[in-house]
């Protein structure tokens, strides 16, 4: 589908509370174009709960249920059960949560909903921090990144949520990024039409959180993929496919850009470059990415 084939209708209204250059609203616009109006979204505490704006108004032109930080997947399970009782099969239930709400506090509810084979789409927009509360570290924050709780850089590496999800062997799981509208829309559309639990994670580069200029949101996502710091893939019934540039990187048809090409634009890594280069940590960041791809190749590259 080309851009011109996407619906003009917007389910996320203008004049909301998002920061200028917000990746969450780019993601929401794309996701809602794919899901359409017959969607109920369940949103836990995260930036998106703020983007909904102030009572008694909301910027969402679809029904949204807000729920506690840890409970997106549990809340969505309840909505799905209620719709099932009413015999409504025409409505998509989607949880939309941040990385904090997914990797950390919401992982138990999420794992449970996947294991129960709940018929819903769980979407995680991953800005690699708790941004709503002022940029704290999460399980998705990369090694060495500054946050307000890792002032000299995070000591630990991020966890690979995708791999945790794959261990549930659900009908559909995917990783994408807001910089690739075709990829986002095709994956959400596919998930919409598959019964059972679906998981889609969207990388969402956040200007205030990552400390880059707000006009570069989309560019930062592209560089993440070009450098292999993020990858585009989908796994349908245990068949794994890498997409776009990520496929070429997996098959070694193109070399990924050095990860430095991605991090050098982000203020959250600036302590690695000044007053002098921190070669040790720069190497460790690159090694993590190299090792991840080697693991992917071992698991998913057919000889």
């Amino acid at each position: 589908m080309a851009l011109k084939d996407y619906p003009v209708d917007e389910c996320l209204l203008q004049g909301n509370a998002s920061c200028p250059g917000c990746p969450a609203t780019i993601g929401l616009r794309l996701v809602l174009k794919a899901l359409g109006k017959k969607t109920i979204m369940v949103v836990p505490a995260c930036c998106t709960a703020v983007i909904e704006s102030l009572y008694p108004h909301t910027s969402f032109d679809i029904p949204v249920m807000n729920i506690a930080f840890e409970a997106a997947a549990a809340g969505a399970s309840g909505v799905e059960a209620a719709l099932r009782q009413q015999g409504r099969t025409d409505i998509t239930v989607a949880a939309w949560a941040g990385d904090g709400g997914t990797y950390d506090i919401g992982i138990q509810a999420l794992s449970g909903a996947l294991e129960r084979r709940t018929n819903f789409i769980y979407i995680c927009y991953n800005n690699q921090i708790y941004s709503n509360t002022g940029i704290q570290r999460s399980g998705a924050t990369p090694y060495a990144a500054w946050t307000t709780t890792t002032v000299s850089g995070k000591n630990e590496f991020r966890k690979e949520m995708g791999e945790i999800i794959l261990a549930h062997h659900i009908p559909y799981a995917a990783q994408t990024c807001i910089s690739y509208p075709e990829d986002v829309i095709s994956k959400i559309t596919k998930a919409k039409n598959i019964p059972g639990p679906k998981y889609i994670e969207i990388l969402a580069p956040c200007p205030p959180g990552w400390r880059f200029s707000m006009d570069k949101t989309v560019e930062m996502g592209r560089l993440a993929v070009d450098s292999g710091a993020w990858s585009l893939w989908e796994c349908e019934n245990d068949v794994m496919t890498f997409n776009g540039k990520s496929k070429l990187i997996l098959e070694k048809k193109i070399p990924p850009k050095p990860v430095e090409e991605w991090i050098k634009y982000q203020g959250r890594f600036s302590h690695l470059f000044k007053p002098q280069r921190d070669e040790e940590r720069l190497k460790a960041i690159q090694k993590y990415i190299d090792d991840l791809w080697e693991r992917y190749r071992k698991c998913y590259l057919k000889p």
């Binding site: 851009l3 011109k4 996407y6 003009v8 917007e10 996320l12 209204l13 203008q14 004049g15 909301n16 509370a17 998002s18 920061c19 200028p20 250059g21 917000c22 990746p23 609203t25 780019i26 616009r29 794309l30 909904e52 704006s53 102030l54 009572y55 008694p56 108004h57 909301t58 910027s59 969402f60 032109d61 509208p181 200029s213 707000m214 006009d215 570069k216 949101t217 989309v218 560019e219």
Partner: protein, 91 residues
């Protein structure tokens, strides 16, 4: 709009739920329609949904709500959108 009789805090959809967010702008995107090739990249990427798309796929900017982030200018491959400081006019 249908109102629901429920005893909970229920919000209803409204454009401009945070007011006219165009007032947040420091830089203003200026579109040169002559350069535009109607690729719709600015439309799909505008975080605010403030780029309107017409039937013929031409685009226009809604300054009431555009927050001036500059994503549209950065993503336009033919430089049909430039950013100008509010109140200053480039020739």
């Amino acid at each position: 709009m249908k109102k629901y009789p429920v005893e909970t805090s229920l919000s209803y959809p409204k454009k401009g739920a945070m007011g006219k967010t165009g007032s947040w702008r420091v830089f203003k995107p200026i579109l040169d329609k002559k350069k535009c090739v109607k690729c719709l990249r600015c439309w799909i990427f505008c975080p605010e949904g403030s780029i309107h798309r017409e039937k013929d796929d031409s685009v226009s900017i809604d300054y009431d709500y555009c927050k001036g982030c500059g994503v549209c200018a950065n993503e336009c491959n033919v430089k049909a959108i430039i950013m100008e400081r509010e109140g200053e006019k480039k020739k």
